[in-house]
Amino acid sequence: MADTGKLLFTKTHEWLRIEGNVGYVGISDHAQKEITDVVFVELPKIGREVAKEGEAAVVESVKAAFSIYAPVSGKIVKANGAVEKDPSIVNKSPYDDGWFFAIEMKDAKEADTLMSFKDYEEFIKSGAH
């Protein structure tokens, strides 16, 4: 399992892993448990510009459809076709194989507003989500 210490989290349950000027995005283990078995994933097109907190992808479970928001602004440079083909990867491996897309970040400072894993766990416990 990935080192969650290297991940940054949003209040909308996405995580961001920064590698150079590229940020990989997925959803938290808590989020995948809450939405239950994922049955469909719609990824953004490569080259699309996304704004911080703007809708970038859609994930569907038997319960409902949920939007995945971009944790930072930038251009989509990669999309993980594997989760489109087999959405169950999102449930099985939310922090590793289950990533959704990667963003070429416009402004790395935007990531400063995100939470550490520890803060995110506190945030979930507080029930403020």
Partner: protein
């Protein structure tokens, strides 16, 4: 116990027929002489091969598997599954209505046009609106029509604007309708009781806001007390206010959207006005507007000219047709019949009873299930949360499945999205106290089972023709085609 019925293709046997044709009374001919060979089938069509009795039994058994409001209680929140009076069906099937053709000349359909005109008038009175269109064929279609009107209105003022504001508690159709009309959807947060947070609203409304779509009572079943302030904030920015009328069953005869400051609203005849719903549809989602917007309504519109009813398609500002002919007229006849049968006082009484029934259920259930919001009087429906039952390893889905074993249709679950493990219950006014009590006792039984025997819930249902279905597999590997074995 009712069993699963095989497909009609799986019963019968090769060569069995349910008909006998008379002797040929024209010269026989080879099919190849009549139809070019390349257009002829190479193999026999795979039609069912059954006798008349096989066929009658098959469809009778299928009909007995139906669960409907005519057989049992249907507390599906946000759907208003009230009884559909049989007099409605009788009126709609009168040959004078049923045999009409939409291309008949106006002069020969004056009665039908009068009925459409009067239905519009009644809906105007109920909603406090100035004009109505009966064309939209469902609620979401009404929303789309509303958004088209919004766009046409703003475009005529020089700027179609960009944004539609929608609360995070809204029906999913709201953002879908706005997006389909080319608008960007901006979500506005609700407070702890699912009401609009006025400060959050002020922060998102600006000169590019085209309309706000609001459901009142909200999907949490509570009246939006600040609706006038919301209307002021929206109107001050030059934007419009749209009512998603899914919850009109709490308002009819008591409060009018027009008086609350709404500019446009849709109503669901198949919810609030007792016409059949779901598989028994089709639906009908008339849209009402204030006088300032009436020219934008779809055409043709029923009008009176020289004491005759006419279909008028004159308006240059109209968004155009949104449905072939004049909407689902059969449904409109049933709603007209409902409104006329109950009358103004009757409709008001129905609303009061609907609210009373919901509050009765809420009061009796709140000790056994947690309420999703603070304990205040609800409108026609209310929302529970199954989150405390998670401690026993039981989810809301399991509670819903277990209710099926006791012969009840399950409430709406996992909606609204802002409530964890939501259970949304709407009894409607047409249920007796006996039915409500029997539902309460069953819900309590299920709550107790969740604690003492959770396995009963997680493996439910046990007594239905089919057991728990693998919804995940069905969604991931959707297969809608049946193939004859060996084909």
């Amino acid at each position: 116990m009712l069993k699963v019925e095989k497909l009609i293709f799986e019963i019968g046997s090769a060569g069995r027929k349910g008909y006998s044709l008379p002797k040929l009374d024209v010269p026989d001919a080879d099919m190849k002489e009549l139809i070019p060979e390349d257009l002829l089938r190479k193999s026999e069509a795979a039609l069912p091969e059954v006798s008349e009795l096989d066929c009658v039994r098959h469809f009778t058994r299928l009909s007995q598997l139906n669960y409907s409001v005519d057989t049992n209680f249907y507390p599906l929140g946000s759907c208003t599954m009230k009884y559909n009076p049989k007099i409605n069906e009788k009126m709609a099937s009168l040959p004078q209505f049923a045999d009409l053709h939409p291309y008949q000349p106006e002069s020969s359909v004056q009665g039908m046009l009068e009925l459409l005109y009067e239905t519009e008038q009644m809906l105007c009175k109920i909603c406090g609106m100035d004009a109505f269109t009966l064309q939209p064929a469902a609620g979401a279609h009404g929303e789309l029509t509303g958004m088209l009107i919004v766009r046409a209105y703003h475009t005529s003022k020089g700027n179609p604007r960009k944004k539609v504001i929608i609360p995070d508690s809204a029906h999913g159709t709201n953002p879908a309708s706005a997006a389909l009309c080319g608008y960007e959807v901006v979500a506005v947060k609700s407070d702890r009781n699912g009401r609009i947070d006025l400060d959050a609203l002020k922060a998102v409304v600006d000169g590019e806001t085209a309309v706000m779509m609001l459901t009142n009572p909200s999907t949490l079943g509570l009246f939006e007390k600040n609706v006038r302030q919301i209307a002021d904030i929206v109107h001050k920015a030059g934007a419009l206010l749209y009512l998603d009328g899914a919850n009109m069953n709490a308002l009819v005869g008591i409060a009018r959207p027009g008086d609350m400051g709404f500019d446009i609203c849709h109503v669901n005849l198949h919810k609030s006005f007792s016409t059949p719903h779901g598989g028994g549809g089709p639906g009908s989602g008339p849209v009402g507007v204030t006088a300032a917007l009436s020219d934008y309504l779809p055409v043709p519109r029923v009008k009176i000219k020289r004491n005759r009813f006419i279909l008028d398609a004159e308006s240059k500002k109209s968004v155009g047709r949104v449905r072939a002919f004049y909407g689902n007229t059969g449904v409109i006849i049933k709603a007209y019949c409902y409104m006329k049968s109950l009358g103004g006082d009757g409709l008001k009484d129905a609303t009061i009873e609907a609210v009373l029934n919901a509050n009765y259920l809420k009061a009796r259930l709140k000790g056994h299930y947690a309420l999703a919001v603070d304990d205040e009087p609800c409108m026609h429906e209310f929302v529970l949360t199954g989150k405390d039952k998670k401690d026993f390893g039981v989810k809301t889905l399991d509670i819903a499945k277990r209710l099926l074993d006791y012969g009840f249709y399950a409430p709406t679950i996992y909606f609204p999205l802002i409530v964890e493990e939501a259970i949304m219950i709407e009894p409607t006014e047409t249920e007796s106290k006996d039915t409500l009590d029997s539902f309460v006792e069953t819900m309590i039984k299920v709550a107790n089972e969740a604690r003492s025997e959770p396995g009963l819930l997680t493996s439910a249902p046990h007594s239905t023709p089919v057991r728990r279905l693998d919804e995940v597999l069905a969604a991931r590997e959707l297969n809608l085609r049946w193939k004859r074995p060996g084909a």
